[in-house]
Amino acid sequence: MSIAVVDSGGANIASVLHALHRLGAEPVFTRDTETIRNAERVILPGVGAAGCAMQTLRDNDLARTIRELQQPVLGVCLGMQLLFESTEEGDVELLGLIPANVSRLQPQAGLRVPHMGWNSVASKQNDSLSTAIDGLWYYFVHSYAAPVGPWTVASSTHGSEFSAVVRKDNFLGAQFHPERSAAAGEQLLRHFLEEGVA
């Protein structure tokens, strides 16, 4: 299976590639629009700032390319947030595939930001993916979060409830890092490779 991991800049992409290798996959790390269009699976990773990532995507004609993809696409962490309309992080316009805005986790007494560590997720839908991950634990690191809505497959809570896994058409997104979430994360990646976003 051909898998394209989109190079949107930023460090620490190696762990996503390593996780795919552990599953026996041979991902290609690329900015080439043709390679991305032709891949059977596309993964949009993301560490770093939303503004930098969007700039890289636009400069390389990747924003439009990604929006038009028909095959299963998985956004990870910032890559999931990029699927939304906009983010408070630098007031950046995102890919606009999911009609909601990403906002900063609100500091409250006793609530640490970034949300860093393992948290459990709760199923929000009745399909096989949503029920398969209900109650599982994943590793999160983020200071911004997407609201819960019809797109939410599973939610988690840090101060308030937010989207942990989202889906819209052929696009799937995970706020946590499946590549660093032990067996639960491996299961999600395998599901994406074998079943797509369903």
Binding site: A11, N12, I13, A14, S15, H18, A19, H21, R22, V47, G48, A49, P107, Q108, G110, L111, R112, V113, P114, H115, M116, G117, W118, N119, S120, W137, Y139, F140, V141, H142, S143, S156, T157, H158, G159, H177, E179, R180, S181, A182, A183, G185, E186
Partner: protein, 258 residues
């Protein structure tokens, strides 16, 4: 309200790609292969690992990144690399080879602007500040160059002031090693850690003094630490991670089940 689990973090000292254990910073004994030990802790349910390159900093060289990549290939839990990282470039090497976070201690004290530069380059979530702190006549103050006891320095900074400064500069997490408790196995310095908690809006990792499962419960309940780091009690087998987590769950402390 804070639903994230408290983290249990074994710390592994690394020299030349081997995990070593020293007594009073000397006579380092090889404990085993870095990958084998990392996988063992992953299988036991450790939430995160810290690899501390003990040879890097005193010799003025940066971390050899070949083992970082091997660790990243092998394990699927997050890990942090500490020791010898003194530039944005060196941090970039370690992160690009698959480390999730980098931790700096003495270089941050020598050049606090390095914290800002690292945060700009990689984001707060990657940047951990290690702080070695001890009680003296002026309350708590920090020490630098603690990797080599006879080169240890007193930079003249109050611990709580330094913690506020590193957060202002963008640090995403702090590991506070309480030197008076370190190695005693008589429990974490919950008094000092509670003070640190009250000035830190970012996650706090408690370090130094773990000797019994109850000490972990104490540091979570009394100091509200987000994570607890230890080495000897894990490496010796005295406290297996699964047993520790079972105990914490019985005490109604939220941890990720093994």
């Amino acid at each position: 309200m804070n639903e994230v689990a408290r983290r249990i973090i074994p710390c592994l000292d690394v020299r030349d790609g081997q995990v070593v254990k020293g007594v009073q910073f000397r006579n380092h004994r090889v404990m085993g292969d870095i990958i084998e030990l990392a996988e063992r802790y992953r299988d036991q349910g450790a939430d995160e690992l810290v690899f501390y390159d003990i040879t890097a900093s005193p010799q003025g060289r940066s971390v050899d990144t070949s083992w970082v990549e091997r660790v990243s290939q092998a394990i699927d839990i997050p890990f942090c690399v500490a020791g010898g990282i003194r530039s944005v470039e060196a941090a970039g090497h370690v992160l690009n080879h698959g480390a999730d976070k980098i931790s700096i201690n003495t270089p941050a004290l020598e050049d606090p602007e390095l914290i800002n530069a690292l945060v700009r380059a990689f984001g707060s979530q990657c940047v951990v500040i290690g702080v070695d702190s001890i009680a003296d006549d002026n309350g708590y103050s920090v020490r630098s160059h603690t990797g080599t006891p006879d080169q240890m320095k007193t930079p003249g900074r109050k611990t709580m002031d330094w913690l506020r400064e590193v957060v202002d500069r963008g640090a995403g997490e702090v590991v506070l090693n309480c030197m008076s408790a370190d190695g005693t196995r008589k429990g974490f310095d919950t008094t000092q850690l509670r003070m640190a908690r009250d000035v830190l809006p970012v996650p706090l990792v408690a370090s130094g003094g773990a000797g019994d499962v109850s000490h972990f419960a104490d540091v979570f309940e009394q100091a509200d630490a987000d994570a607890a780091l230890a080495a000897t009690v894990f490496h010796s087998g005295q406290i297996p991670v699964p047993q520790l987590k079972t105990y914490l769950l019985e005490r109604n402390i939220r941890v990720r089940p093994c």
